[in-house]
Subunit: 319 residues, 2 copies
């Protein structure tokens, strides 16, 4: 972790000029929570806000990587610069968990207009809510027109990551009971575009019907509301790809026309600011003279001599 | 949510006297993040620290509920008072997701010596790390000798919940590829006792071998280290139950003899204190005059006029 001090102005300039190594280096600074990040973000700020951030979620086995790869190809064919950020919220232990899954994206590995990066969540010190928006910010400022934010696994972390996207695409596959899974995990509420991949398999109609039924159940009737479309796709062959891209475009237009984009981004920025502030405060708690205090308070709580609220008050008072 | 002010001294007394409704009411206060919690925890503090908290994790389908039910029966047969807390970290939206899964535990529903409760995580305002330890504290102070902390789903949230237990039991089943899943999710690192349930099925020996192999790979060689046992179980029939209970007992003894229990509990208490402190600070950020400031700062960040770090500094300065 201890490297020489990065030359931030040069790195930012190189990233802005489209040099993949500079982009990669900046995201590594994010992963390592490098102190230089403050200056990085200050310099990147004026160049952010262009990219359409598309979240991609779905259970293992639905073909997320193949679909991402197909979508990257479609966006590249339109001359757009594309970023792919894959986040693994299920692995607190290592940064390498995603390598196996990334093989599909090797098609695009030598394409200058595509940045790919996987990122493991780093414990709980701010976690996803802290690092992911900043990595997105780097890709955005580096000139990506579209960024795919892919998450592995299901559950609350996935919902959190999806909340960082402008458009959330939920990927399903026939015969996996995904409809029910989706409802359980609250994915229905977060999906802007639903895609049933592997649509050449048996059971595709049942899955389409299930998911449409659930959408109309949850539908809000007001005018101007977005009605999530459900598209069929065979990502491996590219069948249905144009429809999926059109659905993503349409949602992007809707976001802009209705002012929803601005609202979502302001809410996200507020959460990002809060996450950084909380991290700052946590670091102060840990480094406080302070560190000894916390240990002593914990000992008193274990002994039943003090309750955790009173102990927390003591910590907050010291900040 | 708006109820009359709870009579905390009376509630705590009733919970201490073993009244299930009082215990349930106290856990509801935790779920609702009721302001009265501070007084509740203050009064409960002297009565905590007795219970052996056993975390139960495993993929869906391995038979967690059946196993919990069997273990509850075994502990009750020894005259112990038992708590069951089921946490669903995958559902940020509702508190009812677990009802279906809880059917197995109905065997014990009329038993006075068993408290059962399921709890959904409530959004991200401190989340699991905030509410779960306090619910455990209630059950502990209410006189439970053993508390089973059962989690639904896999991933980081599960790892977090498991970290709240004294003993973490990882449940597997033959032929589900659980070995690999376990390794991926980092469950191997957190398991103190491994149990292969449904051990009357094909493939049990492969699963046993896989998991033993992975444990010995990760094994620390120092003397006094705990070597996680791997036990076979057929929870539905009770086969192997005595061995599982013996393994849990043995780990409990090891925790106490080596001082590991004290260490783990102090680390957990420190995290609990920190989580409460962070929540307090977050609430201040949100209610600050303050709320308007955050919105204005978020707008500036979206416009690229300000970076999130500088914005976060402004928030922290105001605290």
């Amino acid at each position: 972790m201890s490297r020489r001090q990065p030359d931030v102005p040069a790195l930012v300039e190189a990233a802005r000029a489209g040099q993949p190594r500079a982009v990669a280096r900046l995201i590594t600074l994010v992963e390592n929570a490098d102190p230089a990040l403050r200056e990085v973000m200050e310099r990147l700020a004026p160049y952010t806000g262009n990219a359409h951030i598309i979240g991609l979620t779905g259970s293992p086995g639905v073909g997320k990587s193949t679909t991402t790869s197909a979508l990257v190809g479609a966006m590249r064919a339109r001359g757009l610069r594309v970023g792919v950020l894959a986040v693994d919220p299920s692995s607190p232990f290592s940064g390498g968990a995603l390598l196996g899954d990334r093989i599909r994206l090797i098609d695009h590995a030598l394409d200058d207009g595509v940045y790919m990066r996987s990122m493991a969540s780093r414990g709980h010190l701010g976690g996803l809510s802290w690092a992911t928006p900043q990595a997105l910010r780097v890709l955005d400022a580096a000139g990506c027109d579209v960024i795919f934010l892919e998450t592995v696994g299901v559950g609350q972390s996935e919902v959190e990551v999806a909340a960082l996207a402008d458009t959330t695409m939920v990927l399903l596959a026939p015969g996996m009971g995904d409809g029910i899974q989706a409802a359980k995990a609250g994915i229905l509420e977060i999906g802007d575009v639903f895609v049933v991949n592997k649509a050449d398999r048996d059971g595709v109609d049942v899955t389409m019907r299930d998911i449409r039924g659930m959408i109309s159940l949850g539908e809000r009737k007001e005018a101007g509301q977005w009605r999530p479309p459900v598209e069929k796709l065979v990502a491996e062959k590219g069948d249905g790809l144009a429809d999926v891209v059109a659905a993503l475009d349409k949602h992007w237009e809707w976001l802009q026309e209705t002012g929803t984009l601005q609202q979502r981004r302001e809410r996200r920025a507020a959460e990002e600011i809060e996450a950084i502030a909380v991290r700052t405060l946590r670091m102060r708690m840990g480094t406080l003279d302070g560190a000894g205090d916390l240990a002593a308070l914990a000992e008193a709580v274990v002994a039943g001599e003090q309750d955790p609220y009173t102990a927390a008050d003591r910590i907050v008072e010291h900040l």
